[in-house]
């Protein structure tokens, strides 16, 4: 399964995990970049849920 094929929730978990590793290596810039990507992906999840509820 490619990254793009993974469920958004899994992508969020992976990005958060990667951000923790980067932070553990004193790499705050990369850690922040990954956290922002996790936030953006989380927003996609919420948007999807909101759209699903709206059409219910």
């Amino acid at each position: 399964m490619t990254y793009e094929q993974k469920p958004l929730g899994q992508q969020v978990n992976e990005l958060e995990s990667a951000a923790r590793i980067a932070a553990g290596h004193a790499d705050p810039l990369f850690a922040t970049e990954l956290e922002l990507r996790a936030d953006a992906t989380r927003a996609k999840v919420l948007l999807g849920e909101a759209q699903a509820n709206a059409f219910r």
């Binding site: 490619t2 990254y3 992976e14 990005l15 995990s17 590793i21 970049e33």
Partner: protein, 195 residues
């Protein structure tokens, strides 16, 4: 949904959870020595595969200052992070191995790629040291420009990802023509190097 169907789904969920717990336990139980051994095995397998699809790579790697082999698949004992992988950098001059981890924001190694297997080749010791010690990252610009096939000789098939750093990226069908390492960083694995 009938009761029988629900029970079957519950049983399947329990089975999958059990599998996941089993994998996690084996990963946590693996000693540093076992994990190093697993990475060494991955290195041998990846190099064998590279030499098979591109025999000229053997000479290019032998005459380089060093090389590093990484993958995000096939290392059962490690399970470092679903968003990353593991590898080892080898100094050809001293013979020293440095175990490393690969961390991706998903858009790099995962960009349309299921399995990443890559061999970095360093032309000088400085480049190798920089890769090992500085949390190396291929920039977006380098990635966009990095294409193979225009060099000829032993280096043909490798993708220049930075000055003095080439990459052989293996795919299911041979060598990739363009690197997918954007947004991926490489760090020393202190757990495996210290013990």
């Amino acid at each position: 949904m009938n009761r029988h169907h629900m029970l079957r789904r519950a049983a399947m969920a329990l089975f999958l959870a059990g599998c996941a717990m089993g994998m996690l336990t084996s990963a946590q139980a693996a000693t540093p020595a076992e994990r190093r051994q697993e990475i060494q095995k991955m290195r041998s397998t990846t190099l064998e595969r590279l030499y098979k699809v591109h025999p000229a790579a053997r000479a290019a790697i032998q005459k380089a200052a060093g090389y590093a082999v990484f993958t995000n698949v096939g290392i059962n004992l490690i399970l470092l992070s679903a968003a990353g992988g593991s590898g080892v950098a080898h100094d050809n001059r001293s013979g020293h191995d440095t175990y490393m981890k690969m961390v991706s924001g998903g858009f790099g190694i995962g960009l349309g790629v299921k399995d990443f297997r890559g061999v970095f080749v360093f032309s000088t010791s400085d480049k190798l040291e920089q890769f090992i010690n500085s949390g190396w990252e291929a920039s977006a610009q380098v990635d966009a420009a990095a294409k193979a096939g225009d060099k000829g000789g032993a280096a043909a098939g490798a993708i220049t990802v930075a000055p003095g750093v080439s990459l052989y990226q293996l795919t299911e069908n041979g060598l990739a023509l363009q690197a997918t390492i954007q947004g991926t960083k490489y760090y020393k694995n202190d757990d495996l190097n210290a013990k």
